[in-house]
């Protein structure tokens, strides 16, 4: 057990707990941030993706100790931003959402990608999404959604 601080969705938080716990469990159980999903628990599916200092990570394979003093952003925090609005509308318009279980992770992956590279090629988009599994869409319309977001979000990234 240890007391640690980190920034979570733009707020400083303090928590006293076992530092070996998975970030995923801390976010879901202690902070009720259930937009972060568990699909595999072993770093393969990306359903649990969050931003750690603006870069995508899988929270299921990140021990809490790794976020000390850092900035964590989940879909709940990201959904308050303008970039989110743009990505959201693009996903809705393109038909990139089916069961929705992979979707928050896909949104985080999109943000992480565009933050690094605002004008990715189709190939770069696919690489950017390749850590996130979707069983419903076949990815075609998700790739379209990201392209749509790039178009609509000109200047945002």
């Amino acid at each position: 057990m240890a007391k640690i601080n980190f920034k979570l969705n733009e707020e400083f938080v303090e928590i006293d707990t076992d530092l070996n716990r998975r970030l995923l469990d801390v976010l879901r159980d202690d902070f009720s941030l259930t937009g972060v999903k568990e699909g595999c628990g072993e770093g393969e599916c990306g359903a649990c993706a969050v931003l750690l200092d603006h870069r995508i990570i899988n929270s299921c394979s990140t021990p809490l100790a790794n976020v000390i003093g850092k900035e964590v952003m989940t879909i709940e925090g990201f959904s308050k931003t303008k970039r989110y609005e743009t990505i959201k509308e693009a996903f809705a318009e393109a038909g990139g959402v089916q069961c929705g279980f992979c979707t928050p992770g896909m949104i985080i992956a999109t943000e992480s990608l565009l933050n690094k590279n605002p004008h990715p090629t189709d190939f770069e988009i696919k690489i950017g999404l390749s850590g996130n599994l979707c069983r419903c869409t076949g990815y075609n319309l998700i790739v379209e959604a990201v392209k749509e977001a790039i178009k609509r979000g000109e200047g945002l990234w």
Partner: protein, 695 residues
């Protein structure tokens, strides 16, 4: 008014994209306990003794002795126990639940349980036939002396649904007597009926509510009834909310999958045509029969594919083995059969020296032909136009020629297929008997049906349908997740039946409501009426097996790496006849997603068992496509309205999966200049073919 097919944004986009949608694992309840499953560690035998560790206060074991009713999960064929009474028939068969407030402690306790077994020799060979069906069309298979007969065999392996949300459920007690289950399910009333039998209680003492479903694909058709029964028994005993969520490994190792199959086809040739076909299908059912008989029926009925062959001799068996039970998966027997028949017609053509494409077109089913079961293709069949469209957009002919060159490792393949919409035969009329309610309350209209939105967009398409008929804004139409305390039993969300069958009844309700719309509050209730011309004899497999058929053509272009034999998909082109799209973009979504699963079934997804143990136990071992694997997919829809579907809609959900495997397998055949007889066509199999196979 706008055309119904014009797309709208899905009604649940916002909650899903923002992460606010509540899946079952997101629901917290005061004092909720956690359950984990104790499972068998052998494939066959008897339990001699179970020694549980001393359980701390507030921790429980729940097993078969706690079941008030029948120890059987009610599905189609009732042979799956809720908990074993001691007999073990497959590895990981459930023995008991361990339950308590701290999940980690429950897990520790689980590890300390000692089970001793008397082991028996498990059966893995396909010899114990538990279901056998056969039927004939025309004169069956009667070769004369001197006739040419061509025979080939095809194999398909397991496929795992791999919904990204694992199986899960929460159970709790209301008012000290009523047991309520909230879960990730496709069929609320399947679960409810199973609970009534397991608990032996009145109907009204059980309630089932659907949580947001994170993908299902058939995997949440019958399997959730098992967890529901286990949990309900536990809730009855402990009287506290309990949650049971599977981890990925447990989900893969212990839940139902697509049946592995072996199919032998024999063609009797005259004048370069197949005049008779003998079909023999074997399915590995696993340790329980469950839905396997229905899966077999669908496979057998599809045995002549999208072609008309006047004489058939069709036989099939479900074999029981000591392996994890197989069950529903999008396509339901059709993907196995479509792979076999689609490969076979090409192989036959090659054997007799005819152009496979021409050979197939000569055999295509046409309106007015008899189906495999002597039903009638009553409605127009647009296959020729669809094929032409697919060839034009994919530049099929040119590429086919180009890739035939010796040093080309590219290939283009085309599959032609159908999917029967709705339950097989008289299933709708005799077994399901769908009921639908539409309720007007003041300004709004509520759809009260048991159809589950598992991503395919039922909530959107049904609200749109009703709004369109009533000519009101979609916001005034309400559709909540089904809760059996409120909704009618409109049947399970399976078999590509939801829009065509349930939507058809909803549309009839809406039309009546429209006439009385000035009335303030009222309910319109209707049941399914089978078109009078549909007759099917289940015992003899004769008559119209389906009320309608959806049709499809897939073209796939691939390239095979000459060194590693890795297959790369370049592009796909698909043409579908689903009657009428209730929302085009949603149909495109189903088209892409189904095709991705079908293609991956054909070349990527490897699953097998060794001594009853599934060898791929997580997402690292069981590979499904990532965004990098999937090529751009183009889809075209042909309108061909079906008289009894709403606005002419037929089935969509499964169609797009069934043609994927043969299309990619044929493309690979061309790329490697070898004939393919089994899927998935892995690099290892390609190597074997390149070394030993024939063109």
């Amino acid at each position: 008014m706008k055309d119904i097919s014009q797309s709208i944004n899905k009604v649940d986009n916002d909650e899903k994209i923002s992460g606010k949608a509540k899946y079952v694992a997101d629901i917290k309840m005061e004092g909720m306990l956690h359950a984990l499953t104790l499972r068998a560690t052998i494939a066959k035998g008897e339990i001699v003794e179970i020694i549980y560790p001393k359980l701390p206060e507030g921790y429980f074991v729940v097993d078969y002795k706690d079941i008030p009713g029948k120890n059987i999960v009610k599905v189609i064929f009732d042979d799956m126990p809720i908990f074993t009474t001691g007999k073990i028939t497959y590895l990981h068969e459930p023995i008991a639940l361990l339950i308590g407030p701290d999940k980690f402690l429950v897990n520790e306790l689980l590890k300390q349980v000692k089970v001793t077994y008397k082991e028996e020799k498990p059966l893995f060979d396909w010899v114990d036939s538990v279901i056998h069906y056969e039927f004939k069309k025309g004169e069956g298979f009667k070769p004369k002396k001197g006739d040419i007969i061509i025979e080939k065999s095809y194999e398909t392996s397991y496929q795992e649904q791999l919904y990204i949300e694992t199986q899960g459920m929460i159970g709790y007690m209301e008012d000290n007597e009523k047991i309520t289950l909230v879960g990730s399910i496709q069929c609320p009333y399947y679960v409810k009926n199973a609970l009534v039998q397991a608990l032996d209680v009145e109907d009204k003492l059980v309630r089932v509510i659907q949580a947001t479903v994170g993908g299902a694909f058939g995997g949440k058709e019958e399997f959730p009834s098992l967890i529901a029964c286990q949990l309900a028994v536990a809730v009855k005993k402990i009287k506290k909310p309990i949650r049971l969520i599977y981890e990925r490994e447990e989900d893969i190792l212990s839940t139902t999958k697509r049946h592995p199959s072996k199919t032998t086809l024999k063609a009797l040739m005259r004048n370069d045509k197949i005049i008779s076909l003998a079909v023999k299908v074997g399915l590995d059912g696993g340790a329980n029969i469950g839905l396997s008989g229905v899966v077999l029926s669908r496979a057998l009925i599809a045995s002549s594919g999208a072609y008309t062959i006047d004489n058939l001799d069709v036989q099939g068996d479900v074999f029981r083995t000591n392996t994890v039970p197989n069950g529903a998966f999008r396509g339901f027997g059709a993907p196995q059969m479509m792979f076999a028949i689609e490969m076979f017609v090409d192989h036959v053509a090659k054997k007799i020296g005819k152009d496979p494409f021409k050979f197939r077109v000569e055999h295509l089913a046409k309106q007015g032909d008899y189906t495999s079961t002597m039903g009638l293709y009553r409605d127009p069949i647009l296959l020729e136009d669809m094929i032409n469209k697919a060839m034009e957009v994919s530049d099929y002919k040119t590429k086919r020629k180009l890739f035939d060159q010796k040093d080309s490792y590219k290939g283009i393949g085309m599959s032609i297929f159908f999917h029967g919409c709705g339950f097989t035969g008289s299933g709708e009329k005799n077994h399901i008997k769908a009921k639908v309610k539409l309720k007007k309350q003041g300004d709004s209209v509520e759809i009260l049906i048991a159809a589950v939105d598992m991503g395919q967009g039922v909530k959107t398409s049904f609200r749109k349908l009703v709004a369109h008929i009533l000519d009101i804004e979609i916001e005034r139409v309400i559709f909540n997740n089904p809760d059996t305390d409120y909704v009618s039993d409109s049947g399970p969300t399976v078999a590509s039946r939801t829009m065509m069958i349930v939507g058809g009844i909803v549309a009839r309700c809406a039309k009546e409501m429209k006439e009385r719309f000035s009335e303030e509050n009222f309910i319109v209730e209707k049941v399914y009426e089978q078109p009078s011309y549909i007759e099917f004899d289940e015992a003899t497999f004769t008559g119209d097996a389906y009320p309608a058929y959806s049709w499809g053509v897939n073209v796939v272009e691939v390239e095979v790496d000459p060194v590693t034999y890795q297959v790369k998909l370049h592009k796909t082109w698909s043409v579908y006849d689903v009657g009428k799209a209730i929302d085009e973009r949603m149909v495109y979504g189903q088209a892409d997603g189904g095709l991705a699963q079908g293609l991956a079934y054909g070349y990527l997804e490897v699953m097998n068992h060794k001594d009853g143990k599934i060898m791929q136990k997580n997402m690292t071992d069981y590979i499904i496509p990532t965004a990098m694997d999937m090529p751009p997919m183009e889809t075209y829809l042909f309108d061909n309205p079906y008289a009894y579907g709403p606005y002419g809609a037929k089935g969509v959900g499964e169609l797009s999966l069934v043609g994927g495997a043969p299309a990619v397998a044929k493309a690979i055949e061309q790329a490697i200049k070898r004939q393919v007889y089994k899927i998935p066509v892995t690099p290892e199999y390609i190597m074997e073919l390149v070394n030993n196979g024939k063109d």
